[in-house]
Structures are given as C-alpha cells and as structure tokens.
C-alpha cells in the first residue's frame, strides 16, 4: 500500500513537472517563433500629433513716420505688443494666430525714402535699406496728408514685404495712445492678412485633415484648382500638331522657358523643385469635333465640351518615367487648316479672349490659330510656321500661377496692390504661399503618419522593419521641429522641416515591405496546430484535473476527520 502511494505521488509530480515545462519553455518558444517582427514606433508622440495645435507667429514691424505721432504719444506707445487669436477648426485641430507687433519711429533714411514721388520708388528704396526676413511684414504708417499714395488709396502693397499705410483721418486729431493703437490695430491686421495669411487660406490648406463644411461651388472650385503641395513638380509643355502634312511648326521653347518661366521658378525654388520638359506630338487630335459657326466663319468649342478634350490627348502625353512628382501639362494646340480658326466659347457663348482654358490640378490648353499665316494657297505644303512664344507664354504663365496656388484673392477696398513684375512673383506672395504650404505639409504629414500608426495597430500581422520605424521617427521629429519653428515665426525653417516630414512620411507609408503581410487564416492555423496540441495538452489537462480533484477529496477527507 505504501509503495502504491509513493508511486501515485511520483506520477502526480511527473505530471505537474511536465505541465510546468510546457508552460515555461514550450509556450514562450512557440510564441517567439511565430511572432512577426515589429519595430518600436513612437506611438505616444504620434497620438500627440494627432491633436494638432498649430500656432502661427508673424513679426509685424510698424514704423511711424514723422507727423503721425504726437510727442506724448510717442513716449507712451509700447515697444512691442502681442496679439493672439485662437480658432478651433475641428475637434482635434486648433489654430492660434499670434501677431507680434514692434513699434518704432522711422529713421532719417526711411524718412527720405518715404519722400520719393511714387509709392513704387519708395518701396524699392525702403527695400534697399533693410531686407526683412522671410515671413515678416513691415508696415510704414504715413500721415494723412502725404502725397505718396494717390487719392482714395489707404494701403499700398509693393513687391517686397513692405506696406505703406495712411493714418486715418480722425486720428490726426490728437488723442491718447490707446485710442491710436485701437484704431490702427484692425487695419494692420487686415494688411497682414493680405500679405501673409488669412484664416480662409489656412483652413483651405488643412483640407487634407479637416473635412470642411461644403461651401459655395465657386469657393470649392477655387480651393481645388491648385496642385497639392509636393516636393517637386514636372512641368511639361506639349505642342500638338494634328496635321504635320499641312504645317510644320517651330517653337523656340528653350528661349521662351528661359525668359518667361524660369524667373518665376527660380523665385519658387525654396518651395519645391521644378523640372521643365517639352515635346512635340504629331497627329494628336482633340476628343471633340468643334462646331462650325457660320456667323463667325469659325469653329467653336463650347465650355461644356471642353471636359472631353483632354482624355484622348492625355494618352499620348506620356507620364514622366523618371520621377513620381505630379505633372503640370501645358498644351498648345494648333488646329489643322480644315478646322481653323478655332475659338473657345465660355458659358455665356462669348469667345474667350485668351483662347485657352485650364483643368484643375492637371494643366492648361491653349488653341493657337495659324490660318492667317497660310499663304494664298499657292505655297507648297507643308507650310513652315513659327509660333509667337510671347503670346503663348503669357497665357501659360498665368495658368501656371493658378496651378501653383499663387492666387491673389481680391484686395479689400482701399488697397492698392502693385501688379507683379518681371519676376512674376512678389516677395509677400511667396511668403503667403510658404505659409499655406507649410501648414498643408504639416497637415498631410500628420494625417499620413497617424493613419499609418492606426493601420499598423489594427493589423497585427504586418511586419514593421527597422527602416520604417526610423522613417516614422524622423517624420515625427521633423513635424515637431516644423511646428516649433512655426511658433517661433521662422517660416523658412518651418517649410524646410515640413518638407522633410512629408517626404519621410510618404516613404514610410508606401514602403513595399509593408505589403508583405504575414497572414494565415485561423482555420489553417488550427488545422496545423491541432495534431500537435491536442494530443499533448489533453493528457496534461486530464492529469491536472485528476490531481486537483484528488486534492479536493483529500481535503474533504481531512475535514471530515477533524469533525
């Protein structure tokens, strides 16, 4: 009996120890060998970024020229003054605008500059005096009586980052400085909104992140016209020659690009890389047959049919094989002799002056009629035709500005905005673009990185390699830096970091290694595990149950004995 008892004890011990070995060695081994590799991701920081709190700071320098301030006002006007404005865009996006105004009086040289006969000259000489940094605004306040600005104009905005503001009439009467500032501040804010950013610009830039309430059709069209922010753009000019038999076209695209497009792109260089190509496509037809209008003795394309023009042509354009940047297409269509002249009509059935149209986020098409360049029929075909590039490039340049988002929203009344000159872009326009592009980049990068984190969190089978983890963390650092630089008002650096962030986030999101999903359906897993686990675990479980029940019985026995 004693030996039997010892045997049973030994058996129980053996069963227990096997169970322990299985739990301590087998289960971790199984776990370790079947797990997918997932590198560590900065999830907390990503979640912080998901709640985006952007603060945009602008340095505004307000310079009072002689005759605008009373001496006692001059003493009391504070040196700096900060004005903040918070806007809640949606649940996890808040925007704060911060205008840091510095007040000072003009020095002698600036006074001299302001005495120039015209505002444009004043603007130029003020610029030579001091170059203000990227993203800042200088407002010169001139007295009511000044002749620098023409009648009826209160604010003048030049090519650089300076504006000239006429002191309003009621303030020429001296009052205390608080009233003066209270009077000036809304006007200065208005100037700054034109020259750097307005709330509508910024919310439009956030469209990737925030679903906007559907506004009017026009504003939607406006917001969708320009290209998304991207680190580079490919600009392609294509000359479409549908009938090389009757005319041979020559265009000096190299010269035209050099003199018209390149200055603008040089100016935009901090924003993105641009590359320019051109090609000539022969036998490229439009998708619609233009209708002959006998009253005009010309062929016409209606605004409704313009949508169908692009598709057949686009098949011939060819995508850029060497890069994956978005392509801006500019097509010059020279209709053949039998369908010429060809005019584009707008919705009101009026001919469009430029004879060109554009398609949002795609490019522009211009029709160039050459029928008057044909001889009187006696010249042998094909006729050689040189295209007037000045006319063409004027249209394309305007379209390019639209596509890139250099749109000047109509200035408020009383504002005089100097039209853009040879460079095609004023400094403050560039700043404006940079503000919205930076915000857009930050918004896009945060959405990309948060959705990536969500995806990886939801699907546990995706392998996360180290390079993806490093891309993600570099995105996060760049984003944090960009946000910080925006807060500090360093627009240039902010843009730079936001570009880095967007590049890194795209690389992480589109990394091909994420596609290698180690995915096994559950039924297959069970089919493979059952032959091993079932015969192994059942005896262990049974003996454990037996041991437990025996122990319970013994305890009961002991209790009854005690009783």
């Amino acid at each position: 009996m004693a030996t039997a008892e010892v045997e049973r004890k030994r058996g129980q011990l053996a069963a227990l120890s096997i169970a322990v070995v299985v739990v301590l060695v087998g289960v971790p081994l199984w776990w370790r060998t079947t797990e997918t590799y997932r590198a560590w991701l900065p999830v907390n920081q990503i979640n912080e970024l998901a709640e985006l709190q952007l603060q945009l700071s602008v340095d505004v320098e307000v310079v009072f020229s002689r005759g605008t301030l009373m001496p006692e006002q001059q003493k009391k006007v504070p040196f700096t003054r900060t004005q903040e404005e918070a806007q809640k865009v949606d649940d996890d996006t808040t925007l704060r605008y911060r205008y840091e105004s510095k007040y000072r009086t003009a020095n002698i040289m600036e006074e001299d500059a302001l005495k120039q006969p015209t505002a444009a000259e004043a603007d130029l000489s003020l610029h030579t005096l001091s170059a203000s940094p990227c993203g800042s605004v200088v407002v010169y306040v001139i007295p009511e009586t000044s002749v620098l600005l023409p009648q009826g104009v209160d604010v003048y905005i030049g090519h650089r980052r300076t504006a000239v503001l006429r002191m309003g009439a009621p303030m020429s009467v001296g009052k205390n400085h608080k009233q003066l500032l209270a009077h000036l501040e809304p006007r200065i804010t208005q100037v700054v909104q034109v020259m750097s950013f307005s709330h509508t610009d910024i919310t439009a830039a956030l469209s990737d992140r925030v679903r906007l309430s559907p506004g009017s059709k026009e504003s939607l069209a406006d917001s969708m016209r320009s290209f998304k922010s991207s680190p580079g753009y490919e600009i392609t000019f294509s000359l479409l020659n549908p009938d090389p038999k009757s005319h041979r076209l020559d265009w000096d695209i190299e010269g035209a690009v050099h003199s018209y497009i390149q200055p603008l792109l040089t100016k935009l260089a901090p924003l993105a890389n641009f590359s320019i190509d051109s090609q000539i496509l022969y036998y490229a037809m439009l998708g619609v047959n233009p209708r002959f209008d006998s009253s005009l003795e010309a062929y016409t394309l209606n605004a409704d049919s313009l949508a169908h023009v692009i598709n057949p042509v686009e098949a011939r354009l060819g995508s850029n094989a060497a890069s994956s940047n978005p392509v801006l297409n500019f097509l010059l269509y020279v209709p053949d002799a039998h369908h010429s002249p060809l005019y584009i009509h707008d919705h009101q059935k009026q001919p469009v002056a430029s004879n060109a149209f554009h398609s949002p986020r795609w490019g522009g098409i211009m029709v160039y009629n050459v029928n008057d360049l044909y001889g009187r029929g006696e010249t042998p075909l094909p006729v050689n035709i040189n295209i007037n590039m000045e006319k063409v490039m004027g249209v394309f340049l305007a379209q390019l500005r639209l596509m890139l988002g250099v749109q000047s929203s109509p200035a408020p009344p009383g504002f005089l905005v100097e039209p853009c000159g040879g460079a095609g872009l004023a400094d403050w326009e560039l700043d404006r673009l940079m503000w919205s592009r930076t915000v857009e980049n930050v918004a896009t990068a945060t959405t990309t990185i948060t959705s990536l984190a969500q995806l990886l969190d939801q699907i546990g089978n995706i392998v996360i390699n180290d390079n993806i983890a490093s891309q993600v963390s570099s995105t996060v650092t760049s984003l944090q830096l960009a946000v910080a630089e925006l807060e500090a008002g360093n627009l240039g650096f902010a843009l730079q970091y936001s570009k880095e962030a967007i590049l890194a986030s795209e690389r992480a999101f589109f990394d091909p290694s994420l596609l290698h999903l180690l995915y096994f359906p559950d039924d297959q897993k069970f089919a493979i595990y059952i032959p091993l686990f079932l015969p192994m675990c059942v005896p262990i479980l049974l003996s454990l149950i037996k041991i437990a029940s025996e122990a319970r019985q013994r305890r009961k026995l002991k209790q009854s004995k005690k009783d």
Binding site: A4, E7, R8, R10, G11, Q12, A14, A15, I18, T236, P244, K245, R248, D250, I253, E254, S275, I276, D277, S278, Q279, I280, Y282, Y283, R316, G318, S319, N320, A321, A322, S323, P380, P382, N384, A527, I528, P531, L532, L534, P535, M536, P539, I540, S543
Partner: protein, 791 residues
Amino acid sequence: MAARRCLGLWFFLITLCVVSTGADVLHTTPVTGTESSAAGTETVVARELPEAPSDPGEHTAAEPTREGEQNDRTRGGEQTLGQPTREEEQEQEKTREGEQTPAQPTREEEEEEEEQEQTRGEEEFTREEEEEELTREEEELTTEEEELTREEEEQTREEEELTTEEEELTTEEEELTREEEEQTREEEEEQQTTAQQEEQTKRWEATELEEEHVHDAAVPPLAGDPPAADPPSPPPSKDDFQEELVIRPLHSGDIYASFQFRTVWDADFMGDQKVSHYRLFPKSLGQVITKFSVRELHISFTQGYWRTMQWGQPYLPSPPGAELWVWFQDTVTDVDGTWKELTNVLSGIFCASLNFIDSTNTVQPSASFKPLGIGNVTDHSFLRYATLPREIVCTENLTPWKKLLPCGSKAGLSVLLKSEKLFHSTFHSQAVHVRPVCQDPQCRTTSMELRQTLNVVFDLHTSGQGKREWSLFKMFSRTLTEACPLASSSKVYVDVTDNPQGEQFELSPATPLLTQAVVLGDRRTYSVYDLTQQASFGSSRSLNMLLRWKNSHNNVVPPVMLRPLLHSERYVAGYGLQAGEIHTLIYNHHPYRAFPVLLLSAVPWYLRLYIHTLTVSSKGKDNRPSYIHYQPSKDRERPHLLEMLLQLPPNSVTEVTVEFERALLKWTEYTPDPNHGFYVGSSVISALVPSVVAMDTNSTLDRPLFSSFFPCKEEASYFMRVYTEPLLVNLPTPDFSMPYNVICLTCTVVAVGYGSLYNLLTRTFQVDEPSPGLAKRIANVIRRFRGVPLL
C-alpha cells in the same frame, strides 16, 4: 588541322585568280551606257584609292563577288567550284611550301599594321585584344580563386591550366594564320599590278547603293533619292527621322517583313547640360536615358524562334522572350542600383515584366557585348545583360512601342502595324536600340540614334492559306497611302535577288528603282518604292505590293537557299531529375574558312554546372577554346556565366557540352506552373564571319537602314550574332501540399512519442495476478467437466 585550313585558303586564292579576269565585264552589264554613273565611280575611287593597298583583307574579300556573280549569284555553283580535287590540292601544297619562305620578311609590316588597327580602336576579335583579354582574365581568375570554395577552386585551377595551354596553342595558330595572311598579301600584290583597273570598279561596288534605273538608263543614278523630294526647310533640323520596310520572300514560302524606324538627334546626352526639349525623339525614352546615364540601350521582345536553317539570317537577331542589355556611362557609381531602377522603369514604359530582372538573371559579359555605337569602352563593369525567356510578347507591348514613333500609327509605314495581323504570325520581334553614333565621317560630333525595329514572319499556311502569293493587304490588312510627313526618307524594299529576270515571281506594281546592298556578307538586289515620291502610289493613291509566284500550282521547288554560314542548336540531354548535360552545337558551313566565334551562355544558378566536364570538340577532335571566362554562380544571387572564344574549323560542327546538376528550390521559389519546367535563356554566339563580298566600313554613309545596324570595321568579314534556342528544364518538383502533410505527420509522431512517454512517467504500476493462459483455461474447463481437480 591548320595545314588543311591553309590549303583551303590557298586553293581559294587560286580559283579567284582564274575567275577574276572575266568578272568585271559581267559586273558592268547593268550599268551599260550610263556615262554619268561611270564618272561618279571614278570620283569615289579617287578618294578612296590611297588607302587601298594598306588593307590586306580587302582583295580577298572583294573577289568572291565576281565569282558569285559569274555563277548567277547562286552559291550552289560556287560550292561545286570550291570543292578542290585531290590532285589540285597536292599541287597547291607544293606551291605553298615554295612560297612560304619569301613571305617571312613582311612580318614586320604586318605587325605595324596591327598596331595601327589597335589605335583606331578596332573590332574586338583582333588578335591583340584577344591576348589582352586573356591576360586580364587570368588576373581575374587568380583573384577569384581566393574567394571560391574549395571545390570551385579546383575547377578554376583546372581551367587555368587549360587556358595556359590554350595560349600556347593560340600563339602557334596565330603564327600560322599570319603566314596565311602574308601569303594572301603576296598573292594580292601580284594581282594588283595587273588588276588595278578592275580593282577600282570593284571598290565602287563595295560601297553599294547605286540606284539604277533599269528602264530609263539616261537618268543619273542618284536622282531618285529622297532629299530631292523634301522641300528645303529654312532652319537646319537637328533631328532626322527615317522609316523603312524590307520584304524578303523566304524559300520556305513564308514571307519576312522587317520594319526599321530611325531617329537621329544631335543632342548631347552625355554632357552636363540636361536634355529636356524633345521634337522627334520620344520624351519618355529620353528622360530615362538622361536620368539613368545610359550610354547604350538595347531591348528586344520576341515571340517565336527564328529558324535560321529555313529562313536564313535575320537582319536583326533577337532571342525568344525579352532581352535587355545596357551600357552605362562611366559616371554611374552604383551600377547595380541604377540597373534595378532602370529595369523597373522600362517595365512600366513597355508594359513588360522586365521588373523580374534581378541579380539572379543579370550577367556582365566580358567580351560578347561590345558597344555598338561609338566609344571604345572596355570596362565591362558598366555593362549589364539579362534575358527573360519566359516573357510572352503581345499587343500590350506593341502599343507603347508604337507610341515612341513620331507619327504614331497614323501615317507612314506604321499604319501597317496592326496587332491583329502582326501577332497572327510565326515569328514576331520588336526592338528598341539607343546608341550614340557619329555625325560625320571624322566623328567630330556625336548624336543619339534611336532605332525601332519590328520583324515579322508570316507563315505560308496560316496567314497565306497555302498560296504563294503575298500582298501588303494580305499581310497587314492595310495598304500604304502616304509616307510619314516627318520622315526624311521612307522606303519599301523588296528582295528580288533570287528573281533577277522575274522568272520566280512577279512583283506588281513594278518599280523602276533597283538598289544593291551588302547585307550579312552577301550582295542583294532590292526593288525600291520611295514613298516620298507621289509616283509610287500610282493612280489608285495607295500602294499594295503584290508578289505572285509563277509556279504556284505546280510544285516546282525554288532554288536551294544558301546555307547560312553559321548556325547553332542547343538541347538538354540526360535522364532523371538529378543530373543532365547541355549540348551546344555550332555549325560552320563555310567550305574553306575557319573563323572564331564567341559563345556566351548564362545559366541560372539552379542548374549547377560542373565546369570540369566542359568539353569542346569539332570533327571528332578536341577543340581547345583560346579564351574562357567563367563566373561561377552563387545560390539565389547570380547565374553562371560562361564565355569562350572558339575557332570553328571550316565545314564542321563544334559541340560544346557541360554537365549540370539540378538544385532543389525552396517551396516559395517555384513558379505557379512548376511542372512546365524552367527556362534557360538562349546562348549567344557572336562572330566575325568571313564575307563573300567586301563590306562597307564607312558607317556614316547613307545606306539602307537594314544593312547598317552592326558597325563593320573591316571589309573582309561582317559581324553576326546568333541566338540558340532557349532550354526548358524540368526541376525536381515537390508535391505542394507536402509542407502541410509534413507538419501533420511530424506533429502526430511527436504526439505519439510524447503520449507514451507521458504515460510511462505518470502511470502508477501495480503487480497484478497474472491471469491463466488460454491453454490452461481450456484445460481447466475440461478438468471441471471431468471432475478432476483444477490445475
């Protein structure tokens, strides 16, 4: 062996001597009475004459033409003439021995010449370079040796021994061949004094492209050329586009159509200035070339296999499937990375699976693929070569190819390219070749050349309904109505060499223009239709050429086709799924000339080649390759690369065999249809084949496109590439439910073992009364029955 070769050559020269006197009379017959053409001839000769005596090869090369012409251009006659009788052979041997000694002093001259050639950057097969490569190769081998595993090391050592032996052999051979050449020189110098005058006419013939008006002899020869048709455009155009279609009736009754479109652009892709404004050159390709710093790019897609023995040589050879080879500029630092990106981009452009090109099927040939354009690059680390024999070519590859043409498929010859007909053919091959070429003979400036070629063979029975009658409409279901307005030249050539008097077939509409071109070492005659001339289209305003054979009903066998001088076969031998043997047969059908060929084969890593079993034999004897470059494979990393230089004896079959073992793949590495087998790409044979006629070495001269693709460096021989069949090899293929079965089985075994162990450990054992055995129980029953006490 060498002696016999000398003998053959010797005999050849003598026959030439005999024949040459009567030849030029025959040659001039088509040109009789054309004063102006004779004048043209003389000017050409005057220009080229000073150079003439210095070239040893040209006389021998030029003369066979006459012989050929005398025999009505059929080679059959030439062959019978070429067979030496026994007595003659002996006689010649005597004379040869007599003349061999005076030939010796000219050796120095010969060497000087060789030096000159080298400075000119001549063809890869010249002896000097061969030696260079040999030494370089040896260096490579020694460095490689250290890396190799022990087994491979042994192999390479063997191989090295082999090559050193070879070297000795080649030097011997070389001497012999030099002697031969000297003899020919001697011979020629003798001839030269007598035959100076004939020489001149002959040279003119070599430059070809004399366009003769058969009907209207008074018209000066070059009047029909396209430049006259072009209205003079004011600015000198920087790019130029030409298109051309060659139709060659094949002896099997099939018909071969070869399109070539050539765009030449004076843009400097190699410079620092970025090229970005495109006119005729396709933008997509130009961007690729610029971005990846490509010097030369050759890509071909082929469906079907070119049957050399039935069809003769193609104008542009290509292997079945896809082939891509690229020379990068020497500014590229990471060649492998660039290659990978490039293949991916090209895969997108041509809608092909070129993205499957990776390191396991890419090789760097050391000698076989020299740049075809200008630039004497020798560092083959900038070269990448890959084939995809599995690639199926279809419409989706044709459409992007057509998009690269300036006229698309809207005008010109490209209207014929309709996929429903093109792919209803026995053989279809389309290719794109980009290379830098010289603009002028002095090669001061270079330009980029893009050649798009498309070759198609229509079958007599499937496309032709068994009737030997072909027309453009029957082939392509379209006719020609105009030339591409952008093309400076647009021509259709029909090969009428076998049909000089119209006795074989009838060609309508008849064309007054005839031209001769030297292509693939043979002089061919072509009828030309110039599409830039309105007259070509006739009154119906459309051109629908019709070739109708006269003997279409009665089965008169057409004249025997010339046997191609070089062709090859390849097959896998052996049985079972473990080992095998690759046999490559290379045929030299030249009756009396031996010539060297370069054989390249790239074999995937899963066929493990045993290089020590490599044997090369011709005519039953061992044929030692004079140069071997072997790069062993690495599993899942790179394929085997075997290149060797072989001397093919005249009229012989050379057999190259190598044994291999099939590797077991991982289960994810099998293709979706593993029992179909695994493809091994075609071997490539590159050769300088001795030419029957003098080849034209001036590459900038205006020539038909089909005859000007491979640059020709010397007149006596022409370059040719032959692709063997791809192989289909069965690998040991597992049952793919096996992994699951194995898992289940092992799990069960483990479970059973574990179960018994567990039982042993946990059960308690008790001593039990053993129950009585069966016999005892039966006995007890009986005992009880009997009343006897139990046991």
